[in-house]
Symmetry: C2
């Protein structure tokens, strides 16, 4: 995957660079260029999500007629994968491309903006963010860290995870050591499992060595790329731990406030169009990835229903622990006000039509 | 609803208007303004879809720093609701905001870009358009009419329709006269129904007078606004005739080709971000609309399964009639190549997770 405008980090992003030499010919009025440095939590050439970071950079550049340049840096290139939050908060970098469940150590409410067990679908989350209270609450949370937040993608339907042996009931879950971080891991713990957090790049080796018995990661497209099928032949679906994952952009709030309305529109609509594109991209590639995994002798299994039932019993107790501040309580309540209204009218959601297609 | 930049149609859109007086202060380099006239198939103050046309205009204006002005006209104001295609094709107007199932008389393949019985969901359609062959085929179809096409919204989950009396089986369907145009109406005809096409604004009166026994229109948000509950108390869901409807923008192709790459990016990303916004908007308002309809004594009924089974048996014969040109055949085949791959892996779509939520 080609990197977009990789430049020396020495050229500080916040200083406009004078000179029109690099500006395309059709924009003769442009006389200044702003550079923004985007740090990501993704390894170089990361499929799906990494592609999304590059597409987002390109959208901002195109919409600004190249008056804004966005330099994209992979995990570890400037800061460690989970160091991007602090880097942007402090102004060392301008933007991060990541997922909000990594920031539970900053405020436990952050994971509500990435994925919640038995939580919202991609479209429900987008509705809450764009039309409901979501964006305002997210920005209120971010303002305490000098951050402005945007949703810039979603994984769509995810897999429950990869297992070395079959799991048939709650008792089988109780015996495993599984890579499953955050809210989802906490929920598995209520069933007796031993959840651990391992960075994405180390999961395959941990499975291979027997350090863990199972692992969750993401959707068929990204899980294929990680190669988990090489060491764990049982793949269970769908996930209830993090059923879809929203991907986010964080921007330094001082930087955001320095922009005029036109530039703010560029950022906002670039993010919203890329949010649409990433979900479409994953959905388009999903079936081919599943076909490929089947050809590699993966045993796909529907998750046993008693595991789902037991998890549903335990989920609200687990989630209450993620609302431990006044803003966290507001976020949890707003999230569930919208989600519960949706689940109360479950006869009308898209699953009913999709169930028709299965007849 | 406030109209955006309503101006005299005498000021022809295609002539740049010189003068920076109306341009906001932060864009001192801007010296020309282009006006684009957008004609729509929607009545004035139309909820949902009409709101989307205005939002799209605003996005294009914001992203261009007001160098493009978009004048939005409701149905009949400049041209009749279904005259917008010809108006933009000929260059009388620059843009139309409508739905492609209205253009079956131009080429029978056009409805594939709005809604297909047992067809794609909003997200599947977006995947086919943005990542698959959809956009290229749509533009190939449009080039014969001097048009460039964009997807700019979707209704999300729709209702099967409004009935004065209960329907319990195929036999009940066979006796009704129902407002249901195009592919969906043709499919009901295979079960003995008498489908008719009536413009949206005349449906309520036709139901009231007894000229028709039933009618389909759209989703809970728009159907509430149309007031069908006043004369038909049975509402069946979900729809299989037009399960979700994509909303489209058509642009005069000569006009599109006259734009530089920066302007093309503005149009494209404005359309894609508005496509996301409309679906979120409908989803956000869906539950409140259903609650309101229930409070108005609407009897919601799940569509009897034998009607669905019979319709599925008949659907491919009906759809084959919509591919009667070489481009039509290509479009049908590409649409079903993608859709059939999705339905072959139906265990992995979002309905499986949503079914978990129902346990």
């Amino acid at each position: 995957m080609k990197k977009i405008n990789r430049r020396s980090f020495i050229k500080k992003a916040s200083i406009p660079i004078i000179g029109a030499a690099s500006i395309s010919s059709f924009k003769v009025h442009a006389s200044t260029t702003t550079e923004l440095n985007m740090v990501t939590s993704w390894p170089e050439n990361f499929p799906g999500i990494g592609l999304g970071a590059n597409r987002l950079a390109k959208r901002i550049e195109s919409l600004s007629n190249n008056k804004i340049k966005v330099n994209v840096y992979s995990a570890g290139e400037l800061v460690p994968p989970f160091g991007v939050f602090d880097a942007v908060s402090s102004g060392t970098a301008d933007l991060y491309h990541s997922a909000e469940f990594y920031w539970g150590g900053k405020n436990k409410a952050y994971p509500f903006f990435a994925a919640v067990p038995f939580g919202m679908t991609a479209e429900e989350f987008n509705s809450w963010i764009y039309l409901g209270e979501g964006q305002a609450l997210w920005d209120e949370l971010g303002s305490g860290f000098n951050l402005k937040h945007f949703v810039v993608g979603n994984t769509g339907s995810t897999l429950f995870g990869w297992f070395k042996d079959e799991i048939n009931n709650v008792d089988d879950i109780s015996k495993i050591k599984i890579r499953s971080p955050g809210m989802g891991g906490d929920l598995l713990k209520t069933m007796g499992a031993t959840p651990v957090n391992i960075p994405g790049g180390e999961i395959l080796q941990s499975l291979s060595s027997g350090a863990i018995d199972a692992a969750d990661w993401s959707n068929p497209v990204m899980d294929l790329a990680f190669g988990f099928y090489k060491v764990a032949k049982y793949c269970y679906y769908p996930d209830f731990k993090k059923p879809t994952v929203s991907i986010s952009l964080g921007m330094n709030l001082d930087k955001w406030n320095s922009f005029d309305n036109g530039t703010k529109s560029i950022i906002e609509y670039a993010c919203q169009s890329e949010n649409q594109e990433m979900l479409s991209d994953f959905m388009f590639k999903e079936v081919a990835s599943i076909e490929k995994l089947k050809s590699l002798n993966v045993n796909f299994r529907s998750l046993p229903q008693d595991i789902v039932i037991e998890a549903k019993k335990n989920v609200s107790g687990v989630l209450d622990n993620y609302a431990d501040t006044s803003i966290g309580i507001k976020i949890r309540d707003s999230y569930f006000n919208f989600l519960n209204s949706r689940t109360s009218y479950k006869d009308f959601d898209i699953s009913n039509y999709l169930n028709f297609r299965k007849i």
